[in-house]
Amino acid sequence: MKLVQSYTADFGFIYNDKRQQKLISHLITQLRPLSMEHKIKIVLFSLENLDLDGTIISGTIIEGNSVQKGQCDIPPFIYNLALHSNADKMDKMRSLRKMENTLIINPINRFIQGIIFEMLSSLPNLQPYLLPAVSLNTTTLSDYLEKYESFFIVQEKSFSKPKAVTIKKLHDEYIIYIGAYGQRCKKDEILPYIKKMIHKNNHLLIKGIDRLKNGDVPLEMKIFLQKNWKAEWSITATVANQGIFSKSESYFAKTRYPSNNLGIEEINEYTKCLDTVSKEIGRFLDYYIPFVGSFTFDFIFDEIRSPYLIYVSGFEQDQNIIGQMDSESQINLLQNAFYYLLFLMNNSGMEKGAHHELDKS
């Protein structure tokens, strides 16, 4: 039995000890000057080192230029950068979320797609960007097979990087595309095939479209959205040709990927349109999901170049996100996280309504 020292940090950042080791050095490099400039004490920690009963954290403490291992109390503002997949960690996040004196941003980084799309489909402004979607069961699957020439299947929630499957009708057969590769399936075998493929996991059915191609591959765009220093939604990074249909693992950045049929100007135009739509989606989801600091949206395009939202996830779904970013996006990511917490700290004394009003872009 020993008494622990009581040290109070202002901000906490949660990372995954096993999967995000690379993140730590980025966090230290970028948060140190911010800590110094704003006189903010920061603790970086993993959930293994959070003692909820003792309300103590063991982690890396940044105070200005000083970086050291140590213990501190649970800070009042925490930004979660990790995806937590085991029951123990999810319980800890739940308890942390319910603590009265701590505000945790991104308490959940994994969303159930059926629920998210049900929310989004209630807003008339977003209808042009949504395809008909429904939870997959035997009835809906038979209905989609009957009604549509093609449809997509995506997992309702996934701890790994989500991937979509395309089912396309071709005469008396179906072609099942996973990534770029197609497999033929006879009409009377499609139902059992899909049931076997999805196993017992919950999936979402989305009406298919003929997708716009960028060069040889269908165009996909991924938008990384974050609350910034004014608590407004802002675009941290955009990437073309990387998403839930693509097999490629290309790096993303602000760089575009022009091809013979899509010029840089056109891609820039799409990016601009998606920036606006993404911010509107972010603002709308704020009403239903509190304390989200970041989202990732996957969009596809039809042949007349209209964009459709296809998947919504927490920003940090991809464990290598920092490694895949160019330096500008890396800086944006951590600065947005820090400055959003700073905004919340500076405005925490305000009345609830006024605060909420400010926390809208």
Binding site: M1, K2, D53, E100, M119, F284, Y287, Y288, H356
Partner: protein, 458 residues
């Protein structure tokens, strides 16, 4: 009572955009002099016109409501959900459509969906008696600029909670007590909503409310705030003391300390399998390290409660206000702790029993269960009357009462937002009535009545 359904106006052209309410001749005659239409917190000027195409010939009921038609703009402005069936009330100048009732949700789920609103869906079993718009929302759901809510509403056609843009309700049934939900009280003046269950007293505050009541005081265990001195003081009179966090419910955080010998304590912490024995000199260090002294606990002597085959049990009484603004007892259940456990909460594995059954198991068949039942009603009613005098607006309590081996009553605690898990298993009818009562009460304080209760017409 006037049942109505709102439809989008079929009238085209200039009048479409005007604030005109079209309805059948009979209803139009009753409403024609009214100039204001109110829905939730929103109101607009209105003129009433007869809709010649609508035939009358039936007395409107929930399943055959009168139709009123409004323009698309008016429906959007008032945020009326056209899937709902409403009541229509009218005064000298105003037509009121409703009720519009909000459930302020708690933190059980990070984000909500129909399948996470099971208890509210059960409560909507009474929808056909009240009609109206029932909204489930949280503080983040409010658009403060537009003064509307992006939340869930109950669609009685699909029997589901659906997402939508909704009006600010006139009545709020508070079901979550985290600090963030206190906004609902701070905005009472701005939104003019009636909030019930507007506050939750912690265990110490509740004790302070009760201790000066002469009728209730004999049933209160000695209660003090935890300090090392107060704890040692209690051990001078009692061999066993229970430590309860002021603000937690469902048995969370409870610790029982027993004076084993003059210099030794045995500590039973609900979180750990094994008990811990410590020396008296280590007590302060134990309390400090376990953060008991920081976390604000109350302490009480551990009561020698009546037991059933060695397991303690207590009584949960559900008191609710009915549509006539009167307190009534809607259910009594007994909760038996699991074998070897000292905490009775159903969420900790406790089992629900009927009162008579529990009394007979604990005291034998000759026990005067009717008399005990009457006493429990009287204690509960006294408690509710006293709480009405605090100036807060309560409409629901779950009271925990226990009997010791001498059949003395002990008032253990009062919960503003009790869970009804035991009743669901014990008696489906009682469970349903407990779910329905706040809906009838909300409807009543929103200024509406309910089916079969008031057929008065002008």
């Amino acid at each position: 009572m006037n049942w109505i359904k709102v439809e989008r106006s079929e009238v085209e052209g200039f009048e479409q955009s005007q604030n005109i309410l079209y309805t059948s001749k009979g209803l139009a005659n009753k409403l024609k002099s009214r100039t204001i239409l109110k829905f939730g917190q929103k109101e607009i000027p209105i003129s009433v016109k007869e809709m010649p195409s609508k035939q009358e010939g039936h007395k409107a009921d929930f399943h055959h409501p009168d139709i009123i038609q409004l323009s698309e703009d008016t429906i959007s402005e008032l945020l009326i959900q056209t899937s709902s069936t409403y009541q229509l009330e009218y005064s000298e100048t105003t037509i009121k459509i409703g009720p519009v009732v909000g459930f302020l949700l708690g933190e059980q789920h990070y984000y909500y969906h129909h399948r996470r609103l099971k208890e509210l869906t059960d409560a909507m079993g009474i929808y056909e008696k009240v009609g109206g718009l029932f909204i489930a929302f949280r503080y983040c759901s409010i658009d403060w600029q537009e003064k509307c809510i992006f939340g869930h509403y109950y669609n009685d056609v699909t029997k589901r909670w659906e997402y939508g843009k909704l009006p600010i309700p006139t009545v709020v049934y508070r079901r979550g007590f985290n600090k963030r939900n206190n906004f609902v009280n701070e905005y009472k003046n701005e939104f003019q909503w009636k909030v019930f269950n507007d506050i939750r007293f912690d265990k110490w505050e509740m004790y302070c409310q009760l201790k000066d009541n002469e009728k209730l005081n004999p049933f209160l265990p000695v209660t003090e705030l935890l300090t090392v001195d107060s704890l040692l003081g209690l051990f001078e009179k009692y061999p066993k003391v229970i430590l309860k966090p002021k603000s937690l419910s469902r048995g969370r955080g409870i610790t029982i300390i027993t004076l084993k010998s003059p210099e030794t304590f045995v500590i039973h912490d609900y979180r750990y399998y094994n008990d811990l024995t410590i020396a008296k000199a280590e007590l302060e260090e134990y309390l400090q390290e376990g953060k008991y002294l920081d976390s604000e606990y109350i302490i009480q002597p551990f009561l020698n409660l009546a037991n059933i085959e060695g397991s303690p049990w207590d009584i949960r009484v559900v008191m609710q206000k009915n549509g006539e603004n009167q307190w009534i007892c809607n259910g009594i259940e007994c909760r038996l702790a699991p074998s070897g456990k000292m905490i009775t909460n159903i969420s900790n594995g406790g089992r629900a029993l009927h009162l008579k059954e529990a009394l007979e198991l604990a005291f034998g068949e000759e026990v005067e269960s009717d008399l005990i039942s009457k006493d429990i009603h009287a204690i509960s009613m006294e408690f509710c009357k006293m709480m009405d005098l605090t100036g807060y607006h309560f409409a629901e309590f779950g009271l925990d009462i226990a009997l010791d081996t001498h059949q003395h009553y002990w008032f253990i605690e009062a919960n503003v937002r009790p869970t009804f898990k035991g009743f669901k298993a014990l008696d489906e009818q009682i469970y349903k009535q407990i779910c329905y009562e706040p809906i009838l009460y909300s409807t009543s304080i929103a200024g509406f009545s309910w089916g079969n209760n008031d057929d008065a017409d002008e």
